[in-house]
């Protein structure tokens, strides 16, 4: 499992892209393909962020420190889909019109927060290598706590763009709040207690 875990996860993370490509080739993206691609890549960015944030609570629950090995890949896939999402916007939505993009970022709050989240992701992606982790030492962890505001901005970005039915963004928001709450002291001890009972119970 240890040896195939990472390649397997890599392939799983590629599935949303493979699905999109497949649909694109079979005319399956519906009447508004660009909207479909934008929504899909945005959704998978959020999913990637939430999965990355669930590694630590899961580790505390299961007591299995090995899970940490998958966190970087999940984070980088969130970044990968964020790049696709951003490219879709810059290219297929705005057609590289810098004035129009700048206006959008300043004037449209949902674009502003989405863009901010993307910019904040850049230093995290750039410092994800083993060498950078070593070089940054303690500061690395501080820097990577940026994922909390990034995820919050991502959910806000989604919430502010929908016309009326906010069910989906609220689901993502609720999951995010749970994942963040599990990092508070009571959350940590609860995970340890539940996890401990699970592991030692029945003996």
């Amino acid at each position: 499992m240890k040896r195939i875990g990472k390649p397997l996860l890599f392939l799983v993370c590629l599935l949303p892209l493979l699905r999109l490509s497949g649909l694109a080739m079979t005319n399956g993206l519906g009447a508004n393909p660009i909207e479909f691609i934008t929504r899909s890549t945005g959704t998978w960015t959020l999913v990637g962020l939430l999965l990355t944030l669930s590694v630590t609570p899961l580790r505390r629950l299961t007591g299995s420190n090995g899970l940490i090995r998958y966190r970087r890949m999940l984070g980088l896939f969130a970044f990968f889909y964020a790049c696709l999402h951003f490219t879709t916007y810059i290219w297929l939505d705005q057609f590289f019109d810098p004035a129009s993009i700048a206006r959008d970022i300043i004037k449209r709050p949902f674009i502003t927060v989405g863009f901010a989240a993307f910019v904040l992701l850049l230093p995290l992606a750039l410092t994800s290598s083993r060498g950078m982790i070593r070089r940054l030492g303690r500061r690395w962890q501080g820097l990577h706590r940026l994922i909390y505001p990034i995820a919050l901005l991502g959910v806000l970005h989604y919430l502010w763009l929908v016309k009326k039915d906010v069910t989906q963004p609220l689901i993502y928001g609720a999951l995010l709040l749970i994942l963040l709450a599990l990092r508070l002291p009571w959350g940590v001890s609860m995970l340890a207690a539940v996890g401990g009972r699970f592991r030692h119970g029945g003996r």
Partner: protein
């Protein structure tokens, strides 16, 4: 009024309805064949019924029509769900016969019309209109219907009738999206009486020469081509003439974002997104949105002297 000037095209350039339909049937047949071979199932759309006696009209655009499949599978019709594909998937539960439309309020001749009587009220004509959604996409749709003015004249509005209110069916059993409180049901829309009387304002009963599909607002819907799509109420059961400006569904839901008039206007942005451009379904690049959706020559006079930023 010079209807021809800005957006009509010579009769010779128009594909006759029959030829178009044959072409479409041929392509549908091929698509069905392909889909059937690939998946072993028949394609979604059941064969629609052709409408008889539809006249061509001068209201035609020299722009490519949006394919039937896109018009009937990419819809905003929250009565069946908020996803674009929900209406085409779920509208089967709507029962369009028997159907009546109550014409009431400030009129001398109130009447509850049976839908089949309404269909014979005036000659049916085909009109190819632009449709611009407030979300920033657009289509070109060949509707079949008759001017709303025909119905209004028969109702004889009184001097108190200043506005017309359109009410959509409210029946969660037929319209499962109404189980959700996403809007206050029933859906209500409204026009000023002069807007309702305008020759462009259409009561539509068909699409591409066929009976209107349920996901597009069967059996009877409004089409107001110079306003954002949500102004064109679908599956109408009542038309009321009133003195005060109606509180419409979207204004009630988010008054800061949607106004009573909701004329297509590239200069007045939605508070959260720009309205300067639109994506025509089927096109790659966005195109500029036109003032009054390109119908300014016909309708701008309705709003002379009005501040359209305030009356958005």
């Amino acid at each position: 009024m010079s209807l021809r000037k800005s957006w009509a095209l010579p009769e010779s350039e128009i594909t006759p309805l029959e030829v178009y339909r044959e072409r479409r049937q041929f392509m549908q047949g091929m698509a069905a064949l392909a889909a059937g071979t690939a998946l072993g199932v028949s394609p979604v759309a059941a064969a629609a019924t052709k409408l008889a006696g539809v006249r061509a009209s001068a209201y035609r655009l020299n722009e490519d029509r949006t394919p039937y499949k896109d018009i009937t599978s990419y819809n905003n019709f929250y009565e069946f769900g908020t996803g674009k594909e929900d209406p085409s998937r779920r509208a089967g539960s709507l029962i369009t016969r028997p159907w009546t439309v109550a014409v009431a309020g400030e009129v001398r001749r109130p009447r509850t019309w049976d839908i089949d009587a309404l269909l014979k009220l005036a000659p049916l004509e085909e009109r190819v209109y632009r449709m611009r959604c407030v979300e920033g996409w657009s289509m070109v749709i060949p509707w079949v219907g008759f001017p709303l003015a025909e119905l209004i004249r028969r109702a004889e509005p009184t001097g108190n009738a200043k506005y017309v209110e359109f009410i959509t069916l409210h029946d969660p059993k037929q319209m499962p999206g109404q189980h959700s409180r996403v809007l206050d049901w029933p859906y209500v829309e409204g026009l000023r009486l002069d807007e309702a009387m305008h020759p462009l304002t259409l009561l539509a009963v068909g699409l591409y020469g066929e009976v209107l599909p349920k996901q597009n607002g069967a059996p009877l819907r409004l089409v107001v081509p110079w306003k954002y799509g949500f102004k064109s109420a679908k599956s109408i059961v009542a038309i009321r003439f009133v003195e005060k400006q109606p509180l419409t569904a979207w204004v009630r839901a988010i008054p800061g974002e949607y106004g009573f008039y909701s004329n297509v206007n590239p200069l007045v942005d939605h508070p959260r997104w720009s309205q300067a451009k639109e994506r025509r379904i089927g096109e790659f690049r966005k195109r500029d949105t036109l003032m009054f959706n390109g119908y300014g020559d016909q309708v701008a006079r309705l709003y002379s002297g009005m501040d359209l930023k305030r009356h958005f």
